[in-house]
């Protein structure tokens, strides 16, 4: 089974050509940097900082804040739903499950593809953030980008923390997508989860560490630590829900 996983992953890559999932991953990475560039240009004073402050880190922090508050939760839900929906839409579960590949290998191949796209999205998003900062530096030296360099360690930490924080939501929505053909329902659930999580964070709900939709925001707020409590729980959700989801799909009547 293990030996077929790379092949299974390759097949999943072949399936996503010309799909919304790819566009969302690539074009979606433009979202937060573009908003920030527009913000800096329309209200330059928000970008003018004293010489003591690292303009890069401030800019990167602000793009991440926009990305996490507005884009990431939807992106993670959508990418899980869109990738799995390819099989529902094409009526291909019956095809996939009569191929000489174990169901576990199919499950893991798709899972790896989704997680790779999420990581790819983060890498592109951060590259574009740096490009956006560079463009602003060229347009107006008063932003102070020339005084410091970006702290790449912080960027990598953001990526690692946010990625782990999204795993809980991925666990829920990967399984859900195999069960629900329609794509609106998961988006509705995600929307409720996101609204609820900002309310719960505001009210300092004591069980917030168990509410997966809040994790990206929690990780952003508690940026100092790594693998703090909710991040471990996020990993736990991911492992448990994937195990259950796989057992479910492998026992279910499919196609």
């Amino acid at each position: 089974m293990l030996l077929t996983i790379p092949a299974s992953f390759r097949i999943e890559v072949l399936k996503i050509r010309h799909t919304a999932a790819v566009w969302l991953t690539l074009v979606g990475a433009l979202f937060a940097p573009t908003i920030l560039v527009i913000g800096y240009l329309s209200k330059p004073e928000v970008g003018y900082v004293g010489a003591n402050v690292n303009a890069w880190d401030l800019f990167i922090g602000r793009t991440w804040q926009t990305e996490i508050a507005v884009f990431i939760p939807f992106y993670v839900v959508l990418i899980n739903s869109l990738i799995v929906n390819i099989e529902h839409r094409s009526n291909t579960w019956k095809y996939v499950f009569t191929q000489p590949f174990s169901k576990a290998s199919v499950w893991i191949g798709k899972l790896l593809l989704i997680q790779s796209l999420i990581v790819l999205h983060f890498l592109i998003f951060n590259s574009l953030t740096l490009v956006a900062g560079g463009i602003l530096a060229l347009i107006d030296p008063k932003y102070g980008f020339a005084n410091h360099g970006p702290s790449l360690g912080i960027v990598l930490k953001f990526i690692a923390k946010t990625f782990i924080a999204t795993l809980g939501v991925s666990g829920i929505h990967y399984w859900l997508a195999t069960r629900i053909k329609n794509i609106i329902v998961p988006i509705g659930i995600a929307l409720m989860g996101i609204v609820l999580s900002s309310l719960l964070i505001q009210q300092q709900w004591k069980y917030i560490d168990w509410f997966p939709y809040a994790y990206p925001l929690l990780s952003f707020r508690k940026s100092e630590g790594f693998l703090i409590q909710h991040e471990w729980i996020s990993l736990g959700y991911f492992i448990v829900l994937n195990t259950l989801g796989y057992l479910d799909i492998s026992r279910r009547n499919m196609g």
Binding site: A7, L14, F101, N253
Partner: protein, 298 residues
């Protein structure tokens, strides 16, 4: 040798509404096995059970002499299938769909051009499958099923949605692949005429139960036995005495006996005429294959 065998196959969503009841199938290697039954008889459900897409409530399935559930990968490497509407990635081209199939079955790349030619889709290879007509989709589905040179091909109503020309092409292709490459075909259909023209063996399913299974010859002789020869003469008693080896009866003023063949009718006639009996009428009545099928599945 039997290539596919099911025993006591049962399936239901609700226990009081069985969909497949106690189905024993024996598909001989090298045959074209027609799985015949009216719509809703349980054909597709049986095929899904055979491919492990549905979990049987009881019974077992052996393909290539191996139990299905514990040998899925090895078995599927040697099976091609096309179930109901073809499973195609509509956002990809015909060729890209075959590319995916090629990776699933570890087939060398040159086979793609071969199967495209075989099903006549070379010209449309780079068009998106979503833009294909139903007939083209069906042919691409068949190309995918044949790509890895399987030993057994399972096709669920493969001529659905094809125009008359397409139906003949599909039938000839199946016969040709069976003859030249020895591929065993298991083909479901609700059309007796289609099965009769194409298949070497037949299984008839109705309301989830298998009513008949055997070669087409066996089906035909079963049907023959249901036909009756009516003879009208001037002297039934004398005629009965002459034909005493046969099970003759007088029904509605005519002699009746089971019909066997046209030669039998001619011989009987000669026998009676030679014995000085006047024969007024010789008449064969009873079900032809079509009527018999309708009768079975009524």
């Amino acid at each position: 040798m039997v290539i596919l065998q099911t025993q006591q196959l049962e399936f239901y969503f609700r226990r009081d509404q069985p969909i497949v009841k106690n189905v024993y199938l024996n598909v001989p290697q090298g045959s074209i096995f027609g799985f015949l039954g009216p719509n809703g008889a349980g054909k597709t459900t049986t095929i899904r059970l055979m491919l492990g897409l549905l979990r049987a409530k009881s019974g077992n399935i052996e393909i290539f002499g191996q139990e299905l559930e514990s040998n899925r990968s090895a078995i599927f490497q040697k099976i091609g299938s096309l179930i109901e509407s073809p499973s195609l990635y509509l956002h990809l081209t015909g060729k890209q769909n075959l590319e995916i199939a090629r990776h699933y079955t570890r087939t060398p790349a040159f086979r793609i051009a071969e199967v495209l030619t075989l099903v006549g889709l070379e010209q449309a290879a780079n068009k998106k499958a979503g833009a294909y007509s139903l007939g083209m989709k069906q042919r691409l589905g068949l190309a995918i099923a044949l790509l890895h040179q399987p030993e057994l091909v399972i096709l669920d109503e493969p001529t659905n949605g094809l125009d008359p020309g397409g139906i003949i092409e599909m039938r000839e292709l199946i016969k040709q692949l069976n003859r030249d490459l020895g591929i065993t075909f298991f083909v479901s259909s609700h059309l007796l005429a289609e099965v009769e023209r194409m298949c070497t063996h037949v299984g008839i399913i109705h309301q989830g139960s298998l009513l008949f299974q055997g070669s087409i010859q066996e089906l035909k002789s079963a049907q023959m036995q249901q036909r009756t020869l009516y003879i009208d003469t001037n002297d039934h008693k004398k005629a009965q005495a002459i034909l005493m080896d046969l099970r003759t009866q007088v029904v509605e003023g005519k002699l009746t006996l089971p019909f066997e063949s046209k030669a039998q009718v001619a011989a009987l006639n000669q026998l009676l005429v030679t014995a000085g009996i006047e024969v007024y009428e010789l008449n064969v009545q009873g079900a032809d294959l079509e009527e018999m099928f309708l009768h079975m599945t009524r």
